[in-house]
Amino acid sequence: MLGHLIKHEFRATGRRMLPTLGVLALLGLLANLSIRLLESGFGDGTVLRILLVLFVIAFFVGITVAWIMTLVLMISRFYRNLLQDEGYLMFTLPANTHELIWSKLIVSTVWFLLTGLLTGLLMFLTVANLVNLSGDDLNVMFIGLGEALDMLRDMGVTNSSLVLLLVEMLAAVVLGCLTTSLQFYAAMGLGQMSATRKGLWSVLAFIGLSIAFQIISSALLGGLGNSDSIDLVINSFETMIQTAPGTVRAANSGIGITMLVELLQGAVLYVITALSLSKKLNLA
């Protein structure tokens, strides 16, 4: 059932996201073309040069719009598809609440990642254009990267720890996307329980959840700071970063701890979302 839900969620969101990403890609290519033309001194006329500059500005505006669009779509799909009239269709499908939530989570995470990937790629192209990066320069960069990796290996850093670091970073990004979506979902799940002004209550729930997590993390950090354990942690990190393998290990542990905190936050938000939709569903 989850597969079908994901398929139809992609169908519903794709009609908004594919054109958005397509336009962003087009703006990126136009901006890069403009940069090349401007640098080559193409077009003596001021009007043409202004037009080229406008393309570059439009690209940066496009990036902002694409991110806002991805965020708004993630929120509006959950709200309209589950908590308004369409909810009468979705909640009477032979699927459980977890499948409904996961389909939304997975699809919005994919769109976040694709928007991020496209933005990154286009930004790299733009910067490469601005600094006149040539194919030879790219070769030098890759050779430099290879040499740096060789150096790290000579210093005792293993391939597995580097791969682990890369996997951890990717997992942290995915987890970040999931937790961000879940914070909005949990707020809307709580807001829909109200008989009236569901939207307003959802906004208040979002603010409330943000404040609650701030207080909890501050309290935990404060508690940790006042205990002896913080010295142990700092000492062990200081010992680790004396050597290259230790530094990679420290980075592994640092990202691991951050992910653990995020995972706990995500789990709490997921439970709030699932309980509010399964035990306290209150469709208008």
Partner: protein, 232 residues
């Protein structure tokens, strides 16, 4: 025969207001049942509870012996009292949707009914009139070979010709071994198709009886008897 829908001391409150209060009832397969009551009597709440769209405050509701969940939703075909299909979807996409999610969906049957009404499958729901949207919804719901059909106000707010089409579609297409529950306050229009009626008022079941019994014992139509029971 075991009940397809059973309520035991079922209650539902919204804040301090009791929408259903200790409801006990049992509906067997093969019956067309009218859930009749004035506005605000608890009809929609009962149907929403049967669909798992609300959770009971007390008591329990069982569909084929199970609490509402993914398994019961596979055998319940539900028509809500509103248009609930996404406006951006075409009729063909809705057919794909029902085909994907409901194992008992009979696509050929739906296509045949749409064809009879000359509804173009490429048309988007957002392009249709309210009446056409309601017909598409009904066709989708009645094209399932379900065990229980829950139809909430299917003839509310439609013209007499559409009303006839809706009732005809229901009677021609429901699975004969299934139960059909039609919630309405327009009794005269549905009376002819009902086997059984449930009168509900202020969250209480006032009466559950076969239509023939009412006619024999009261010597009047269900509509006339309803007017007598719910006289203001």
């Amino acid at each position: 025969m075991s009940a397809i829908l059973e309520c035991r001391e079922l209650s539902k409150s919204f804040g301090g207001v009791k929408a259903l209060d200790g409801v006990n009832l049992s509906i067997e397969p093969g019956r067309v049942v009218g859930l009749l009551g004035p506005n605000g009597s608890g009809k929609t709440t009962l149907i929403k509870l049967a669909n798992g769209l609300l959770t009971p405050t007390g008591g329990e509701l069982l569909i084929a012996g199970q609490k509402p969940g993914a398994d019961t939703k596979a055998i319940v075909s539900y028509l809500p009292d509103r248009t609930y299909l996404p406006e951006w979807m075409s009729v063909r996409q809705m057919l794909d949707f029902f085909d994907d999610f409901y194992a008992d969906f009979q696509r050929e049957k739906a296509t045949e009914m749409l064809g009879r009404l000359s509804i173009d499958e490429r048309m988007r729901l957002g392009q249709m009139s309210k009446g056409t949207k309601e017909k598409v919804q009904l066709i989708l719901v009645m094209s399932r070979n379900a065990g229980l059909y829950l139809l909430d106000e299917p003839i509310g707010g439609v013209d007499p010709a559409t009303r006839d089409f809706i009732l005809d579609t229901i009677i021609r297409n429901y699975n004969p071994s299934a139960a059909v529950i039609i919630s309405t306050h327009l009794i005269a229009d549905v009376e002819a198709v009902l086997d059984e009626v449930i009168f509900i008022n202020s969250g209480h079941i006032v009466l559950q009886s076969a239509v023939d019994e009412i006619r024999e014992q009261q010597g009047k139509s269900v509509d006339a008897y309803f007017r007598e029971v719910f006289k203001c």
